[in-house]
């Protein structure tokens, strides 16, 4: 005999999946160009998440500085309106940790073991929380059994946790949207974590 909550839970997850999965973003068109122009006029860097063309661009003054190819993308909840938002927080299971320098122990000529925060220290699985309440789940393509395991955890979260979160957000009348972005490999994923800093503006289209 199954516990009574299991069918209810399954139904809830199924309904939420149907309602929230794979929303289609509006065609950005003119709105998108105006939004980018507003960012390009100001000094500083900004990101464009062009998810329809599967590209992430880091730009300044309209100049392309770096580009990432998106291998796969899927959406949950309300799609983002095309307007500038910003990165509020980056979170990861194993966030990078800065080394502390012990005064009097440094040796600038490099004879010591190099301690630095470098690209390889960045996480490749992480969440980017934007100021508009949008969550971007970023990960590399699964290669090998460890990354396949993490990818499976992401899939589980996508189909179980996020539907429930969507229902909970609807009850609380707080809009919720999340986007899963799969990049080519770990290096690409780490480079995005490195380059996208808190407070940096971005546009999702």
């Amino acid at each position: 005999m199954l516990p009574k909550w299991i069918p209810v839970f399954t139904l809830l997850v199924a309904v939420a999946n149907i309602l929230g999965y794979d929303s289609v973003l509006d065609d950005p068109g003119k709105l998108f160009l105006e939004a980018e122009l507003a960012l390009a006029r100001k000094p500083g860097l900004y990101f464009i998440f062009d998810l329809k063309d599967k590209r992430i661009s880091l730009k300044a003054r309209g100049i392309l500085l770096q580009e990432w190819e998106v291998k796969r993308v899927r959406y949950w909840g309300n799609p983002a309106a095309v307007k500038p938002t910003a990165l509020a927080e980056k979170t990861a299971l194993l966030p990078p940790k800065r080394e502390r320098i012990e005064p009097g122990c440094s040796d600038e000529n490099g004879a010591y073991e190099l301690k630095a925060l470098e690209l390889d220290d960045m996480p490749s699985y992480y969440t980017l929380s934007l100021t508009e309440g949008i969550l971007l789940y970023v990960r590399p393509q699964a290669r090998g059994w460890i990354s396949s395991f993490f990818a499976a955890l992401y899939t589980l979260r996508w189909h179980v946790f996020l539907p429930l979160k969507t229902v909970w957000s609807s009850i609380r009348k707080k809009p919720f949207a999340s986007i899963e972005i799969v990049l080519k490999d770990k290096r690409e994923s780490r480079a995005l974590f490195w380059a996208f800093t808190e407070g940096m503006p971005c546009i999702i289209s």
């Binding site: 860097l45 309209g62 005064p103 470098e118 690209l119 480079a191």
Partner: protein, 152 residues
């Protein structure tokens, strides 16, 4: 959008991969291996001051061009070495440390030369951008005060 982009040469610094590009429009004129900030933290023993050795990210421009620059060592340099911070400003001056040239881009940050060329390509600095001798010469020759620098 094109009107907003720099028309002259500009510099792009990729701190993750320790690369510097001279660019004009979409074209890369030169690519250099550099060293950027280590991201390490130094705290003053018994004090409240703390330094994070990151290369700043964002949009900057060349504010000064120096030949045979001297390094005026800041407090953190002495604290890191476990030495007392000198009271006399003369004791802060160090020659032959920054290479032949230095380009300042604000708040004490410079693009300069290095004695430790074997560390180029690694994140080892206190926030400045270290460049190899030949690239530094070319950078000094080509960049002007006002040249845009984009760091990410």
């Amino acid at each position: 959008m094109a009107n907003l982009s720099p028309r002259d040469l500009y510099i792009v610094i990729d701190t993750a991969n320790n690369l510097l590009y001279f660019k004009k429009g979409e074209h890369i004129l030169r690519k250099c291996v550099i060293s950027c900030g280590s991201g390490n933290i130094l705290s003053e023993p018994g004090g409240e001051r703390r330094w994070i050795f990151d290369t700043p990210k964002g949009e900057f421009f060349v504010k000064s061009k120096l030949k045979d620059p001297y390094w005026i060592k800041p407090d953190w340099a002495f604290i890191e070495e476990g030495k007392d911070v000198p009271k006399d400003a003369k004791d802060r001056v160090e020659a032959d440390y920054l290479g032949e040239y230095a380009l300042g881009f604000g708040d004490g940050y410079f693009i300069h030369g290095t004695l430790y060329t074997r560390l180029l390509g690694r994140n080892v600095t206190h926030g400045c951008v270290r460049v190899g001798d030949e690239d530094l010469r070319e950078l000094y020759r080509t960049a002007s005060v006002g040249t845009k620098i984009f760091i990410f």
